[in-house]
C-alpha cells in the first residue's frame, strides 16, 4: 500500500496551479486535503504522474458570506466550515453537515471542493449542495464557467470537470427567515460513509423546497414528487410513496436499502418540519404554527 512514483508541486496561486496542471496534461491530479485521494494513492487506484497541491492557494481559501449568497472557496476545510459563526439557516445547515463528516482529524484536512470533485455518492457535501441548489464555479485555461452542482455531478465519481480545470468555489443562495433544513444520515458507525442520507430544505419565502436522497444510486437526487407533496401540504408524504419514488429515480430495488433510504428521507422531513411544531410531542397537524408554510408551485 505505497503509491506509484509521482511528482509533487505545491501551487502558490491559482494561475500557478493551472499552469502546472496543464503542463502535466492527463497525468496530473489535483490534491486538496487528500482524505480520499490519499487512500486511493496508497491503494494504487489513483496513479498520477504529477500531484498539484492546491490546499494552500489563498484564492481558494476564502469564505464570503454575502447578503444574498454564501461563497465558499474550494480549499476551505470541513473543520473551518464547522467552526464558522452562523447567521441563518443555510450557515447553520452547513455547520451541521460539516460537523457530521467523518472525524475531526479528517475534517481538519478534507475540503469542500475536494468532496465535490470526488463525487462519492455517499459524501455529505454533494448531497447538501444539491439540496441547497448550489452552483459550482470552475476555472480552466479557456476561462471561467459555473453550473449547478446537480448537473456538475454526472454519476458516481464522475463529474463535468475537464482535464486542466479547477473548482474555485461553490455558491449557496441564502434562504428566507422562515426556511427550515432537515438532515438525516444513517451509518453503521459514527464517521463512516452513510448507508442512506436524507436532506430537506423548505423555504416558503422563496417558494423553494427540495427533498434529496443520497447514498443510494449513483448521485444525490431531488425527489420531485415527494418535494411537491411536502411543499403543498407541509406534511410528510407516505413512506411507501417516498420508497417508490427512490426506487424509480435511483433505480434501486434492494428492499432493505430502499427502506433505509426512505427512513432517512422521512426523518429529514420530520426534522425540518419539527421546527414548526409548537412542541416536540405536540400535534403537528394543528394549524397555527405552519401557517404560511405551504406553497403550490415550488422551485425544485
Amino acid at each position: 500500500m505505497k503509491p506509484v512514483d509521482f511528482a509533487y508541486h505545491r501551487a502558490t496561486g491559482l494561475d500557478d496551479a493551472l499552469e502546472h496542471l496543464n503542463a502535466a496534461g492527463e497525468g496530473a491530479k489535483l490534491l486538496g486535503g487528500g482524505q480520499s485521494l490519499g487512500p486511493m494513492l496508497n491503494l494504487r487506484l489513483a496513479r498520477p504522474r504529477v500531484l498539484v497541491d492546491v490546499s494552500s492557494v489563498a484564492a481558494l481559501r476564502t469564505v464570503e458570506p454575502a447578503r444574498e449568497r454564501v461563497t465558499v472557496g474550494a480549499a476551505v476545510t470541513h473543520a473551518e466550515i464547522e467552526d464558522r459563526p452562523v447567521s441563518d439557516v443555510i450557515e447553520r445547515a452547513m455547520r451541521e453537515v460539516a460537523a457530521g463528516i467523518a472525524c475531526r482529524a479528517v475534517r481538519n484536512r478534507g475540503t469542500i471542493g475536494g468532496s465535490v470533485a470526488h463525487a462519492d455518492p455517499s459524501a455529505d457535501w454533494p448531497i447538501f449542495l444539491v439540496c441547497a441548489g448550489a452552483r459550482v464555479y470552475i476555472r480552466g485555461a479557456a476561462g471561467a464557467r459555473a453550473l449547478p452542482v446537480t448537473d456538475f455531478i454526472r454519476a458516481a465519481y464522475t463529474t463535468d470537470l475537464a482535464p486542466g480545470e479547477i473548482i474555485t468555489h461553490v455558491e449557496i443562495a441564502r434562504a428566507g427567515g422562515q426556511a427550515r433544513f432537515g438532515f438525516c444520515k444513517l451509518c453503521r458507525k459514527a464517521g463512516e460513509f452513510a448507508e442512506a442520507v436524507g436532506a430537506v430544505l423548505i423555504d416558503p419565502e422563496r417558494r423553494c423546497c427540495r427533498v434529496v436522497t443520497g447514498a443510494v444510486g449513483p448521485k444525490p437526487v431531488v425527489l420531485a414528487d415527494t418535494t411537491r407533496t411536502l411543499a403543498a401540504t407541509a406534511m410528510p408524504p407516505e413512506p411507501d410513496a417516498i420508497r417508490a419514488e427512490i426506487a424509480a429515480v435511483a433505480n434501486e430495488h434492494d428492499p432493505v436499502k430502499l427502506h433505509t433510504a426512505a427512513v432517512a428521507v422521512g426523518r429529514a422531513i420530520d426534522r425540518a418540519l419539527a421546527a414548526y411544531a409548537p412542541s416536540h410531542d405536540g400535534d403537528r397537524s394543528g394549524s397555527g404554527a405552519r401557517t404560511g408554510l405551504t406553497f403550490q408551485s415550488a422551485d425544485i
Binding site: M1, K2, P3, V4, D5, P39, L43, R44, L186, R188, K189, A190, G191, E192, F193, E195, M235, P236, P239, P255, V256, H259, T260, V263, G266, R267, D270, R271, L273, A274, A277, H280, D281, D283, R284, S285
Partner: protein
Amino acid sequence: MSTGIGVRVPRKEDARHLAGKARFVGDLSFPRLWEVAFVRSPLAHARIRSITVPERHAGRVFTARDMEGVRPIRAESSLPTYKPSDYPPLARGKVRFAGECVALCIAPTRAEAEDIAEEVILDLEALPAVIDSLAARRPGAPRVHEEWGDNLFLTTSVDGDFESARKRAAVVVEREYRTARQCMAPMEGKAVLARHDERKGQLVVYTSTQVPHLIRTGLSQFLGLDQADVRVIAPDVGGGFGYKCVLQPEEISVSWAAMRTGRPLRWVEDRREHLTAGANTRQHHYRLTACADGRGRLLAVDAEITVDVGAYSVWPFTACLEASQAGGNLPGPYALDVYRCKTFSVATNKPGFTPYRGVARPGVCFAMELTIDAVARAVGREPADVRAENLVPASAMPYTNVTGKHYDSGDYPASVAGARRMIGLDAVRARQGRSPPLPGGADRPDTAHARQDHAERPARDSRRVDAMSARQGSPGPDGRLIGVGFSTFTEQTAHGTRVFGAWGLPLVPGYEQATVKLAPSGTVEVRSGNHSFGQGLETTLAQIASEQLGIGVDRIRVTMGDTGETPYSTGAYASRGMVMAGGAVSKAAESLAGRIRKHAAHLLQTGADRVSLTGGQANAAGGASVSFEDVARAWYLRPDQLPDDVDTQGLEVTEGYKPEVDTGVFTYATHAAVVAVDPATGSVEILDYVLFEDCGRRVNPMILEGQSYGGAAQGIGTALFEESLYDENGQPLTSTFADYVLPGPVELPAMRIEHTESLSPYTRHGIKGIGEGAAIAPAGAVVNAINDALSPLNVEINEIPATPRRILAAILAAKTSGPNEDGRRRSP
C-alpha cells in the same frame, strides 16, 4: 508501599510507549536493509501455469522454485481422521486463497518493491472455489486439496443418549446459528526483519510474535537449520490476540531470502494484506437442539458444529484446535447430563484458521447463550433465572462436566446474580412493561402497541439522555425498543501438558521456566521466554517477583521475547501468561529469596529463618538490616564475607513450573447488556454494559480491567460490526477499514466491571488466566438483548454480526409474513 500482588501498579512499559520510545519491528534500522513486498494470488483457487519475472528484475524476485530445500509448513496431529496440509511459504503448483503469497520482491523501499511486484506476471488457470463451508462438505464439491477425497481436515464425534432425553422433554428448541469470518486487527500487523549475524553465524529474526521460542523451533524445522543457528527476537509487539501465535509463511520466506541475499530484509504487513490474507478466524455454523423440562432445566443438547478452517492448517496449533475446543466447550458452565456433538473442520478457499482471543468459545458461547434464552422464552420464564438454575452450582465444585472438563472453583450462579444487580434487571423490565417475559414472543399485542413510536426521534445528544433514563427505568420517547440480555461462560485457561498431549499437536507445553537474578547493583532481573504484546506482563511479572522478594517493581527489570536471553517457553497464548510465567517467576523468586535470606543472615549474624525481606532490604528480627545491594556485593565482589556453606549456585535461579493439575483452571463471568434497537433502521445502541468476573487472585486489578474493556470491545465488534465478506468466487470484499467495520469509541458503551475472587486450588497464588475471557461473552449478551427487544415484533436474530441490514431484513420479513404493525413512525 507494596508493589506486589493485588496492587494497581502503573504499567512499567507505558513510560516508553507514551514517550514514543517503544521499538517495533518497523522502527528497527540496519545498514543495507531492504524492504519486501509480496506478489499475492488474485484468485481464490487456481493452478499456477507460470510466473514470469521481467529480466530487469532478476535477483529481486523469488518464487517457490528458488526455495529448494525449504519445507512446506505442515502441522501434524494424532487425532483420528485428521489430514495435515502442506502450506508452502510461497505457493507451489496451486494457490488456495486470494492473498496467498506467490513471489517475494525486494527493493530499497517498499514502494519500489511494490513496483516490482506489479510487473511479475502470473499465469493462473482459475479453478472453482469453495467458499461456503456447508457446501464444501457435500460430495462433489471442488476440493481444496485434490489428493484428499473430501474437504474435511477433521471430524469429531461425542455420543450421548439424546433421543431418550428428548422423549422426556417438555420443550425442544432447535436453532441454526452463524458467526462471521473475522480479522483480529491488532494495531500493529505482522512484521518480520531477518538478517545474518556473521560473527555468531546466526540467522537473527526480529518478528512481531507472541511465541518467539516456538518461531525459533518452527523456522529451524522448516528451513532445515540447527536451532543454535537461529535467534528470534520479538521486540515491542503492538497486539497479537492469537494472530501472532502461529508460524507465518512470511517469517520463513523473509528469513530464507535474507540468508540467500546476505542482506537484512524486512516485511511489514499492510492493512489490505491483513484484511484479506489475514481474514482467518471465528467462522462457525451450528445446528443445535436443546431439550428442557417445563422450568427450562436443560436435559440434553445435540449439536453439529461446522468450522470454516480455510485452506491450510497453521503450525503448531493445526486446523483441529478450533473445532476440538468448540465441541469440548459447548456445554460451558452448565450442568448438563446428556450431550451429543459432531464437529466438522472444513477446508475452503480462504486464509488458514488461526486461534483468536477466546478460541472457539465466542462461537459456542453465542450459540449456547442464545439457546438458553430461547428455552426461557419457550417456557415463559425470565432468562436470567433459567440461566442461573442451569449453571454448575458452587456446592458441586470441583466439578467434572459431561465433556470431561475439570472445573476447579467458583460460584457460577453468583456471577449471574451480580450482573443482574449491576444492570438493574427489574428496572429494565419495568420500563419495558413486561415481567416476566411471556412465552412465544409473538402474542403480546398490548406490549407492542404500548411501545409504538409517538414522538420525534431526538437528535444524537439526547439519545444519551435516553441511555441514562433506560437505567432509571423510565420509558424512552424515541420509538426504539429496549432489550436486556445476559451471557455466561467459563474459560479453560493455562491448560497444559495433558490437554495438548491429547490433541497430539506439534507443541505440548510443559514446565514453564523463568530466571530471577539479584544483579550486582542490588536490582532484580526477571527473564521469561513468554512475551508481552500489550497485556502488561512486564509489570505483572515484576509484581509477582516484588511480592516474593519484597523489593519495589521500579527495581525489577523484566526481559522477555528474546530467545538469546530467556529460557524456553512455548509463549503467550491460551490465557496462560500469568498462571504459567507468573507461577515460574514466583517459584524462582521464592527460591532466590531463600538464598538472599541465607546470605543476609550470615552478614547479619542471625539465622535465615529470622530474616524477612521488605523494602529492598533483608531485615533481622532484632531490627538490623542489610540492603539487597549489600547482599549482591558480597556474592559478586566480596566473597570473603560469605559463609563456608554458601549456595554455589549464587543469586541466579531458573525454575520450571506447572500447576499440580494441569488440565487448566477455569475463569468465568457473566456479561449483561441493555440495548436500544431502532426498528425502522435496524441500528443498535448499547445503552449499558456490565461484566461480573472471577479470575481467581488478581495480580493487578487495573491492568485486568483494561484487558476486560479491550476484550469486551472486541466481542462487541464480533456481535455487531466485524465481518470478512467474499463473493461467490472467493474474492474478498472487505479489504479496507471502510468495508471491514471495527467498533469505535462512539459505538462502545462505558462498561462497568465487578470482581469476585475464587482462588484456584491448583495454581500459585490462586491465579487463573483472564487475557481472553472478556472477548467471549459479548455476542451472547448483545444479541440476547436484541432478541429481547425484538420479541414483540416476533423477530429473532441468530447470526452475527447483527448488522442494521440483518436486523432490518428480519423485521421486514416478519412484517410481510405476519400482522405486526409498521415499526416506522407515522406523523399525525
